[in-house]
Symmetry: D2
């Protein structure tokens, strides 16, 4: 770390900082500048105490980190890309870009099975669908719960699609893990660290959505929570961040996909449906996601979006999904990631 001392601080003030740096287990290296001095602190920032509390000293202007805060997710920890094998479907590395598709919410047996067959026919290998739904208002549809899980199991049996579904509660970790092939952690729980740990402990692959206002660093540290529990089957999922823009529901940050691919060994999935909140923009954003290097796409598909119990505005129907999957083929071949 680097401790910046306020200008006009006398030697005694600098010495006090040096002493504190030493007390916290770092080797201090003072650098007396023309106008301002700094104390560099040598030591592993990820195992020693943070020096940020030194900001509390009146003569300290700022404390700057030197090291990156993530370890297990980094390419230094593992130089080859993690390829997650979801019961035969491979995600990451050079594997074909995986299509995960299905309704925002599981609503009925008919709706789910109809959708499962349709998305499989169009090329999806993983079925998405929410049984437990986190809703902004308590008066909105909260999902079918256990019944939804039952329907997902049914759809899996009927189609062979693997299942990704959201885990909302620590209490439900084992229950959801019985049905799900991939546990999804939603954006609103991206820093619900207890839930991350509970999910990790099931041993299932985890799809970790980026929080609504989560910096890339914080997102990677969320994944770090999971890896540090011994579960390294984590997919990062970019799903748009919250900004001032109101035309779209969120702002899809495709640079974050490139960063995650470059900083970590983990697969990166893009959710264009949540990412913009508008069905009409989904195809363009799928193409953009593939072009920047995404390993998979998570797309909301509903038989009749206008009748959806949640987020109809961003779901596409079967015909449009089939057309989208088809239209992505040339691009997937160009980037060498077609099935």
């Amino acid at each position: 770390m680097i401790v910046i001392i306020k200008s006009h601080t006398d030697r005694a003030g600098i010495d006090e900082v040096i002493a504190e740096v030493k007390r916290l287990g770092y080797q201090p290296r003072p650098i007396i500048g023309e106008l301002q001095s700094v104390v560099a602190a040598i030591g592993d920032e990820t195992t020693h105490n943070s020096l940020e509390s030194l900001n509390a000293l009146p003569q300290v202007e700022r404390v700057l980190r030197v090291q990156k805060r993530w370890k297990l997710v980094s390419k230094e920890a593992r130089s080859s890309p993690t390829v997650i094998d979801v019961d035969g479907v491979k995600i990451g590395g050079g594997a074909p870009v995986v299509l995960m598709a299905g309704p925002c919410s599981v609503e009925s047996e008919e709706q789910l099975l109809e959708t499962a067959h349709a998305v499989r026919a169009a090329g999806a290998t993983i079925l998405r669908g929410g049984a437990f739904k986190p809703r902004t208002s308590p008066y909105e549809f909260q999902g079918l719960g256990k019944d939804g899980l039952r329907l997902l199991a049914l759809a899996k049996k009927a189609t062979g699609l693997k299942i990704v579904t959201e885990l909302l509660s620590e209490h439900d970790a084992d229950l959801v893990a019985e049905t799900a092939d991939i546990l999804q952690i939603g954006a609103r729980n991206a820093q619900n660290f207890r839930l991350l740990v509970a999910a990790a402990k099931t041993g299932k692959p985890i799809l970790l959505k980026r929080g609504l206002s989560q910096r890339v660093e914080e997102w990677l540290l969320g994944a770090e929570y999971i890896l540090s529990e011994g579960n390294s089957n984590v997919m990062l999922c970019e799903r748009g961040i919250r900004t001032f823009e109101t035309y779209t529901r969120n702002t899809l940050d495709l640079a974050a996909v490139a960063i995650a691919k470059s900083e970590t060994h983990l697969p990166v999935i893009v959710d264009p449906s949540q990412g913009c909140g508008r069905a009409d923009l989904v195809p363009a954003l799928c193409a953009g996601a593939v072009a920047v290097g995404a390993d998979g796409l998570l797309i909301e598909v509903h038989p009749r979006p206008a009748e959806a119990l949640s987020d109809g505005q961003q779901q596409i129907d079967f015909a449009r999904f089939a057309q989208l999957a088809e239209s992505l083929q040339p691009l997937l071949r160009t980037v060498g990631r077609s099935a």
Copy 2:
């Protein structure tokens, strides 16, 4: 709700919207405009299905809500302000502005007791202190856990101060409720709806922090989750939102305090320590918070901030807290809210 139809839509397209509105349980009132038409949908938006899924129809441009989404927290549901009685300490209404103070994390018996005595002497009536800490990185201090709760109980016994401490996990709701007089829900869990419900069910008063990027509407709907479980002892807590500004850790949104006071019957607390992340700005922001109408202040105080195990940069020491509490007195008298 108001459904805006795209311009140049023919009558059949409009009729399809009208039929959908009717199917979803609303009375449609079409208004055919010069350039654009709308269909107003009469019905209670909070009990009927949302019409937002109609965005999925190609002829629909946008769907606009008319009604506010919150009910139980609103002044229509209860015209007089909620005054929460925390074992004799009153919060809200015309009650004196309450000072909640203490360390970011409970670190040791000595640290906590020393702080408890100091903040009580300066006028605080509630002791804050984290036993379970949500930390961005798994490598940071995670709190003393149960031992922290034990120390909080000790401090309560020694000083008579009431205790506010954070609940991180559904599993711990009853455990934390044994010690805490007020359960705090942190910003990162502001939309962890299962945790809100678990906290509500303990029956304890709840201090609900605003999420990092939570709109006021969403914050009030978070409180609505708690009230709809039958627990109406909720304090809203503004603690800064995440913006592009980097000089401060968060941007304290004092307008949100005024809005919450005007839209709801609930007490509103301000946390200036998290709100700016800088000890030097805490006094000015406390004054600002009182002036806009806050019912209480949540202030981080530590015996030696530079040695704190978390967030030292935003904690103030005993002398500064005593000085701050003293300096607020004339302002509190001016607004008629001194003890």
Copy 3:
């Protein structure tokens, strides 16, 4: 427009709103709801006064717009895409994706000519380079000014590349237009409406960057200022918006590119260099931009980025630019937009 009346407003209060709507030139259509009433106002919102001032009435809750605010840039105004002919280089429609490349700032004759030859060899047809630089601090390099323009003219003569350069001041509009083939309006001046008008009046094609925190609607209305002066040769340029993320300098909003393509007839350019502020991310974002439908790319290239007088961190050198241009070819062919 739709005027939402507060619940529990009596008939006299509603009638007052109706009268105001009429006075402002609209036909009022009151809709009396179960819980809340609205007054729809029929009339052209773009030619009548805004009704937003009615928010000032105590019984009015909110005023909502129905119509889009842009006209001349919309596809309703012109159904075929605008193709801008920059002295033989075509931009927009189905034309090949145009590469605009060059240094952030013009620094010297050698630097500029060297760069011009290199980017031309790699496939660029337009040379970028700032002669007048808007810098955050008055102590930073402000550009070579007129001398920079002279060097740009020299480079044009030597290479045949067309020139795009920024216009900072109304005073310089004619001066810059003498040299520039395209006038760039920078993000910081995106709502300097007088500059937009001055630029429009030169008759030159204009590249309009999106402001740092400009909503898409406001960006399109900025273009509307230019078109309403009779100059329809406008390219919209997405260059990243300001968000809470700090890993990148800005957040490139590729959804905005898709929206601008879908809502308007104007070409859309993407600036990935400013868009992320990091040379290492430029190639991935170029690919993403092409995939979502960009008509051109604006890329910062410098002989020796580490020695650049401005923004070295986001400029790429000749070898990397040549490699980038090459690597984009398969993608450009796939989308049918290669040269």
Copy 4:
């Protein structure tokens, strides 16, 4: 500056950085760490070239600034607060908090004079009113222009109030300065550096609004542009920043007021009307602004807000302004800043 070297960089890579630091005029001080090395660069960052371009070197991870970037506005440049004397009205230092009030736009002689008399009677000493209006859409009312200036001069003569009005164009600097006692630079032009310089050169006091997404550092550097032209009569004006919140038009950042007061010697004004965009919140935010230390308030007042040609939703009428001015008195006395 501090140059952070990527881990695993060999000695030759570090030496290359050292050589570059030296070439750019700084004294390099390499610090070889356990896991990562840094090169501290000793020298005045405000007079030497920035080292940020070193980010372009492959072995450089990041470059961090040590020094603050502002100079003339800082308390180091001038330890006593600047008190601006606007023809007898003092602003800043311990002077009474000044009330600047008037309509968003000058609309007519009657409207302006009526307002001027009313706000003067309630205690305002400065009249605000826009003659040139920056409007998001070209189809909105653009202000009365020269005629508006004439009416402002008339109102000044009739009431003795000083005039603050916005300067939109470099061309109009002298024209507006003839009438205005204070030139306002609006948020959309906060980084229109040529306009800042043109305004500075008139010698008039300048009210510099913070840009919509301007960091405090950038806002102070905008003021630095004006001071470095020899005009030190600058008032900083916080007017809300753009965030994700939609309940209010902007998010008023009162911490920025405290920071500006602590970092600079300049007076700080708060504009609560723009700051929230809602008349109902103006009184609470005025109180908050005074409590955090504002030197003045800029408040929009209109005879009949519902009929205003711009921003009626945030303007208050005469009765409410008089009541507001009255209600602030006890607070102003408490902070020792009443007239």
